[in-house]
Amino acid sequence: MTAMRFRQAIVTALADEMRADSSVMIFGEDVAVAEGPFKTSEGLLQEFGPLRVRDTPISEMAFTGAAVGAAIMGMKPVVEIMFMEFLGVALDQLVTEAAKLRYLSNGTLSVPIVVRASCGSGLGFGSQHSQTLENWVAATPGLKVVHLSDAQSAYSLMRAAIQDPDPVMVLEPRILYGERGEVDTSLKMTIGQARMIRSGGAITIVSLGQMVNVCKSAIEKSGIDVELIDLATVVPWDRAAVLNSVKKTGRLVVVEESPESGGWGSEIVATVTAELFGSLKGAPFRITTPDVPVPYSGVLETRYVPTDDDIVRQLTHAIGTGEKPKTWWQLEGIKK
């Protein structure tokens, strides 16, 4: 085990894959000379040289598309989208090209690209630099979508994503880049496999990304015997792990850092409800952000994202009554 920051776990994974496989290359805005705006490519240009580590113009569409073309012709490009929102201008290349080209080549092509993006709220970046947006890409067959939650998953899942033969979107919670964690570089993780963070019998929490830490804190404060699952992969999500857990606990709450409407958690709740309806002890529900853009003010942003206190309140209510708790904005009378 080695102690390293989340961002160092990413660099280490990139470097280890580049050493293991000469077809792995990295490009994006300021990833080479400046070593990444979040220092997630520190030392890579120096070690691997300018052929494989490249700065691009501010042209997400061009470099994401270039990754697709290079991947088809035998490279394994990793591209960095500095803020997840910037994927908007490159979405065509990921959703309509990369995700479809194996299908449209009768299975003769693979597109092994990794699109990394920093995401999430909590740092005061405002509404255009703070969303998670995995929901943009989750409904696109052909893509895999991973969301990292700590240094270990950053290392192990990044390596798995690069080794994967298909397009993988990897979301990196920006707020975690500086966080330290223990990393076992020999530990392999599989895309599509959830992580059991804590076993428990009273209720199952499914979460991912930076919300996993918030859930841990809520569990500690509440004293409730929660089973906490880090879903880790949004597509394809680990149905077996979630269903087995809820079979045991009879209760489910999904904690999401994304708006109430149209979230990936709805998919989890719908599946669990349909599959385990008769054995549930209470209504499965979600704890999300409100349906608003991410606000800038520290006072507002802190409440925008689910807090540990609010999770404690909702867990306690759900276990006590078997009913879905109200959202904080309902309790405050702001919105029904």
Binding site: M61, G69, M73, E97, L104, G107, T108, P165, T190
Partner: protein, 332 residues
């Protein structure tokens, strides 16, 4: 039946075979309308009559291990690169003998044995991908080239500008071919674009550029050879504007009633088939009688293709679930 690769080699230097391929493309496209009327083709389709010299000229100069990104107006490029009429029509009819097994349709042709990456239904999308293929060749130290073929309308989409800029700064071995057929969907290019010579846009990217007569296969081969030689020898990308004309409407639904009177007829005087025939007769390679024979034989051949594809099996329901992800190998 010949393979795609054999058909590709046929047209490498043989002028008569090149002409026959152009006749094949023309006859193929003419038959699509009839097949629509008969209810044998679904959705939409985008025909390329008038652009046969460009498609065949590109295919003649490139090697089969070069890669081409083309568009939804892609039947001609596919046939020129070597795909059999059966695999193209089979795909258009959604049959299992199609190049994509019937899940792609008219806008999605692919055959990696001759370097045709899946044609895209999104305007301009192939431009960055061709640059990326060229990036792979550059990193791998190979002398292959990437090619993007796109319409005049694509010169106004972001992918064109971003892709050309990226290719220029990285000196990628890629050739951008703007097939200026005068119309972007239903709009004449002069109503959507403030310049007439689209190739001059490459000036902004400090990229070599020129236009050529897309109705003349000799001119296409000459221009392509210059650009390909530059790319293979490390000289970077080129933007070529091929001046052509779209004899048909944008798609099946479009009768092209917006065309100024006489414009089509004016361009038809320089029909690429006619231009080629004149050259071949003048050089003594063909006679008018032989030309008629080629055309009548092609009509017969195309009817056989239609019969074969009509009789080909429909896809199984299970086939729609295939090829979403690559089968998982044991992890390292």
């Amino acid at each position: 039946m010949k393979t795609s690769l054999q058909r590709r080699q046929d047209i490498k230097t043989d002028k008569i075979a090149q002409y026959e391929r152009m006749v094949e493309i023309r006859e193929f496209e003419e038959q699509i309308n009839a097949l629509f009327a008969a209810g044998l083709v679904r959705g939409s389709t985008h025909l390329c009559q008038g652009q046969e010299a460009l498609d065949v000229g590109i295919a003649a100069v490139l090697r089969p291990d070069d890669v081409v990104l083309a568009t939804y107006r892609g039947h001609g490029v596919a046939l020129a690169l070597g795909l059999t009429p059966e695999s193209v029509l089979g795909e258009i009819m959604g049959k299992t003998n199609g190049c994509c097994g019937g899940v792609g349709g008219s806008m999605h042709m692919c055959d990696m044995s001759v370097g045709l990456l899946p044609t895209s239904a999104i305007v301009g999308a192939g431009i960055p991908i061709a640059a990326g293929a060229a990036l792979a060749f550059q990193v791998q130290g190979k002398d292959n080239v990437g090619v993007a073929v796109f319409g005049d309308g694509a010169s106004n989409i972001g992918a064109f500008h971003e892709g050309l800029n990226l290719a220029a700064i990285w000196k990628l071995p890629v050739i951008f071919i703007c097939d200026n057929n005068v119309y972007g969907e239903y709009s004449r290019i002069n109503t959507t674009t403030p310049i007439e010579d689209l190739h001059t846009r490459a000036e902004s990217y400090n990229m070599p550029h020129f236009s050529l007569d897309g109705m003349d296969i000799a001119a296409v081969e000459k221009g392509m050879t210059e650009a390909v030689n530059r790319a293979r020898s490390g000289g970077g990308p080129t933007l070529i504007e091929a001046k052509t004309y779209r004899f048909a409407g944008h798609s099946r639904a479009d009768q092209a009633l917006y065309r100024p009177a006489g414009e089509l007829e004016q361009w038809q005087k320089r029909d690429p088939l006619k231009v080629t025939e004149e050259g071949l007769v003048a050089s003594g390679l063909l006679t008018p009688e032989k030309i008629e024979k080629i055309k009548s034989d092609m009509k017969v051949r195309m009817q056989e293709v239609i019969e074969t594809c009509s009789a080909a099996p429909e896809p199984t329901l299970a086939s729609m679930f295939e090829n979403i992800w690559t089968p998982v190998k044991a992890s390292k």
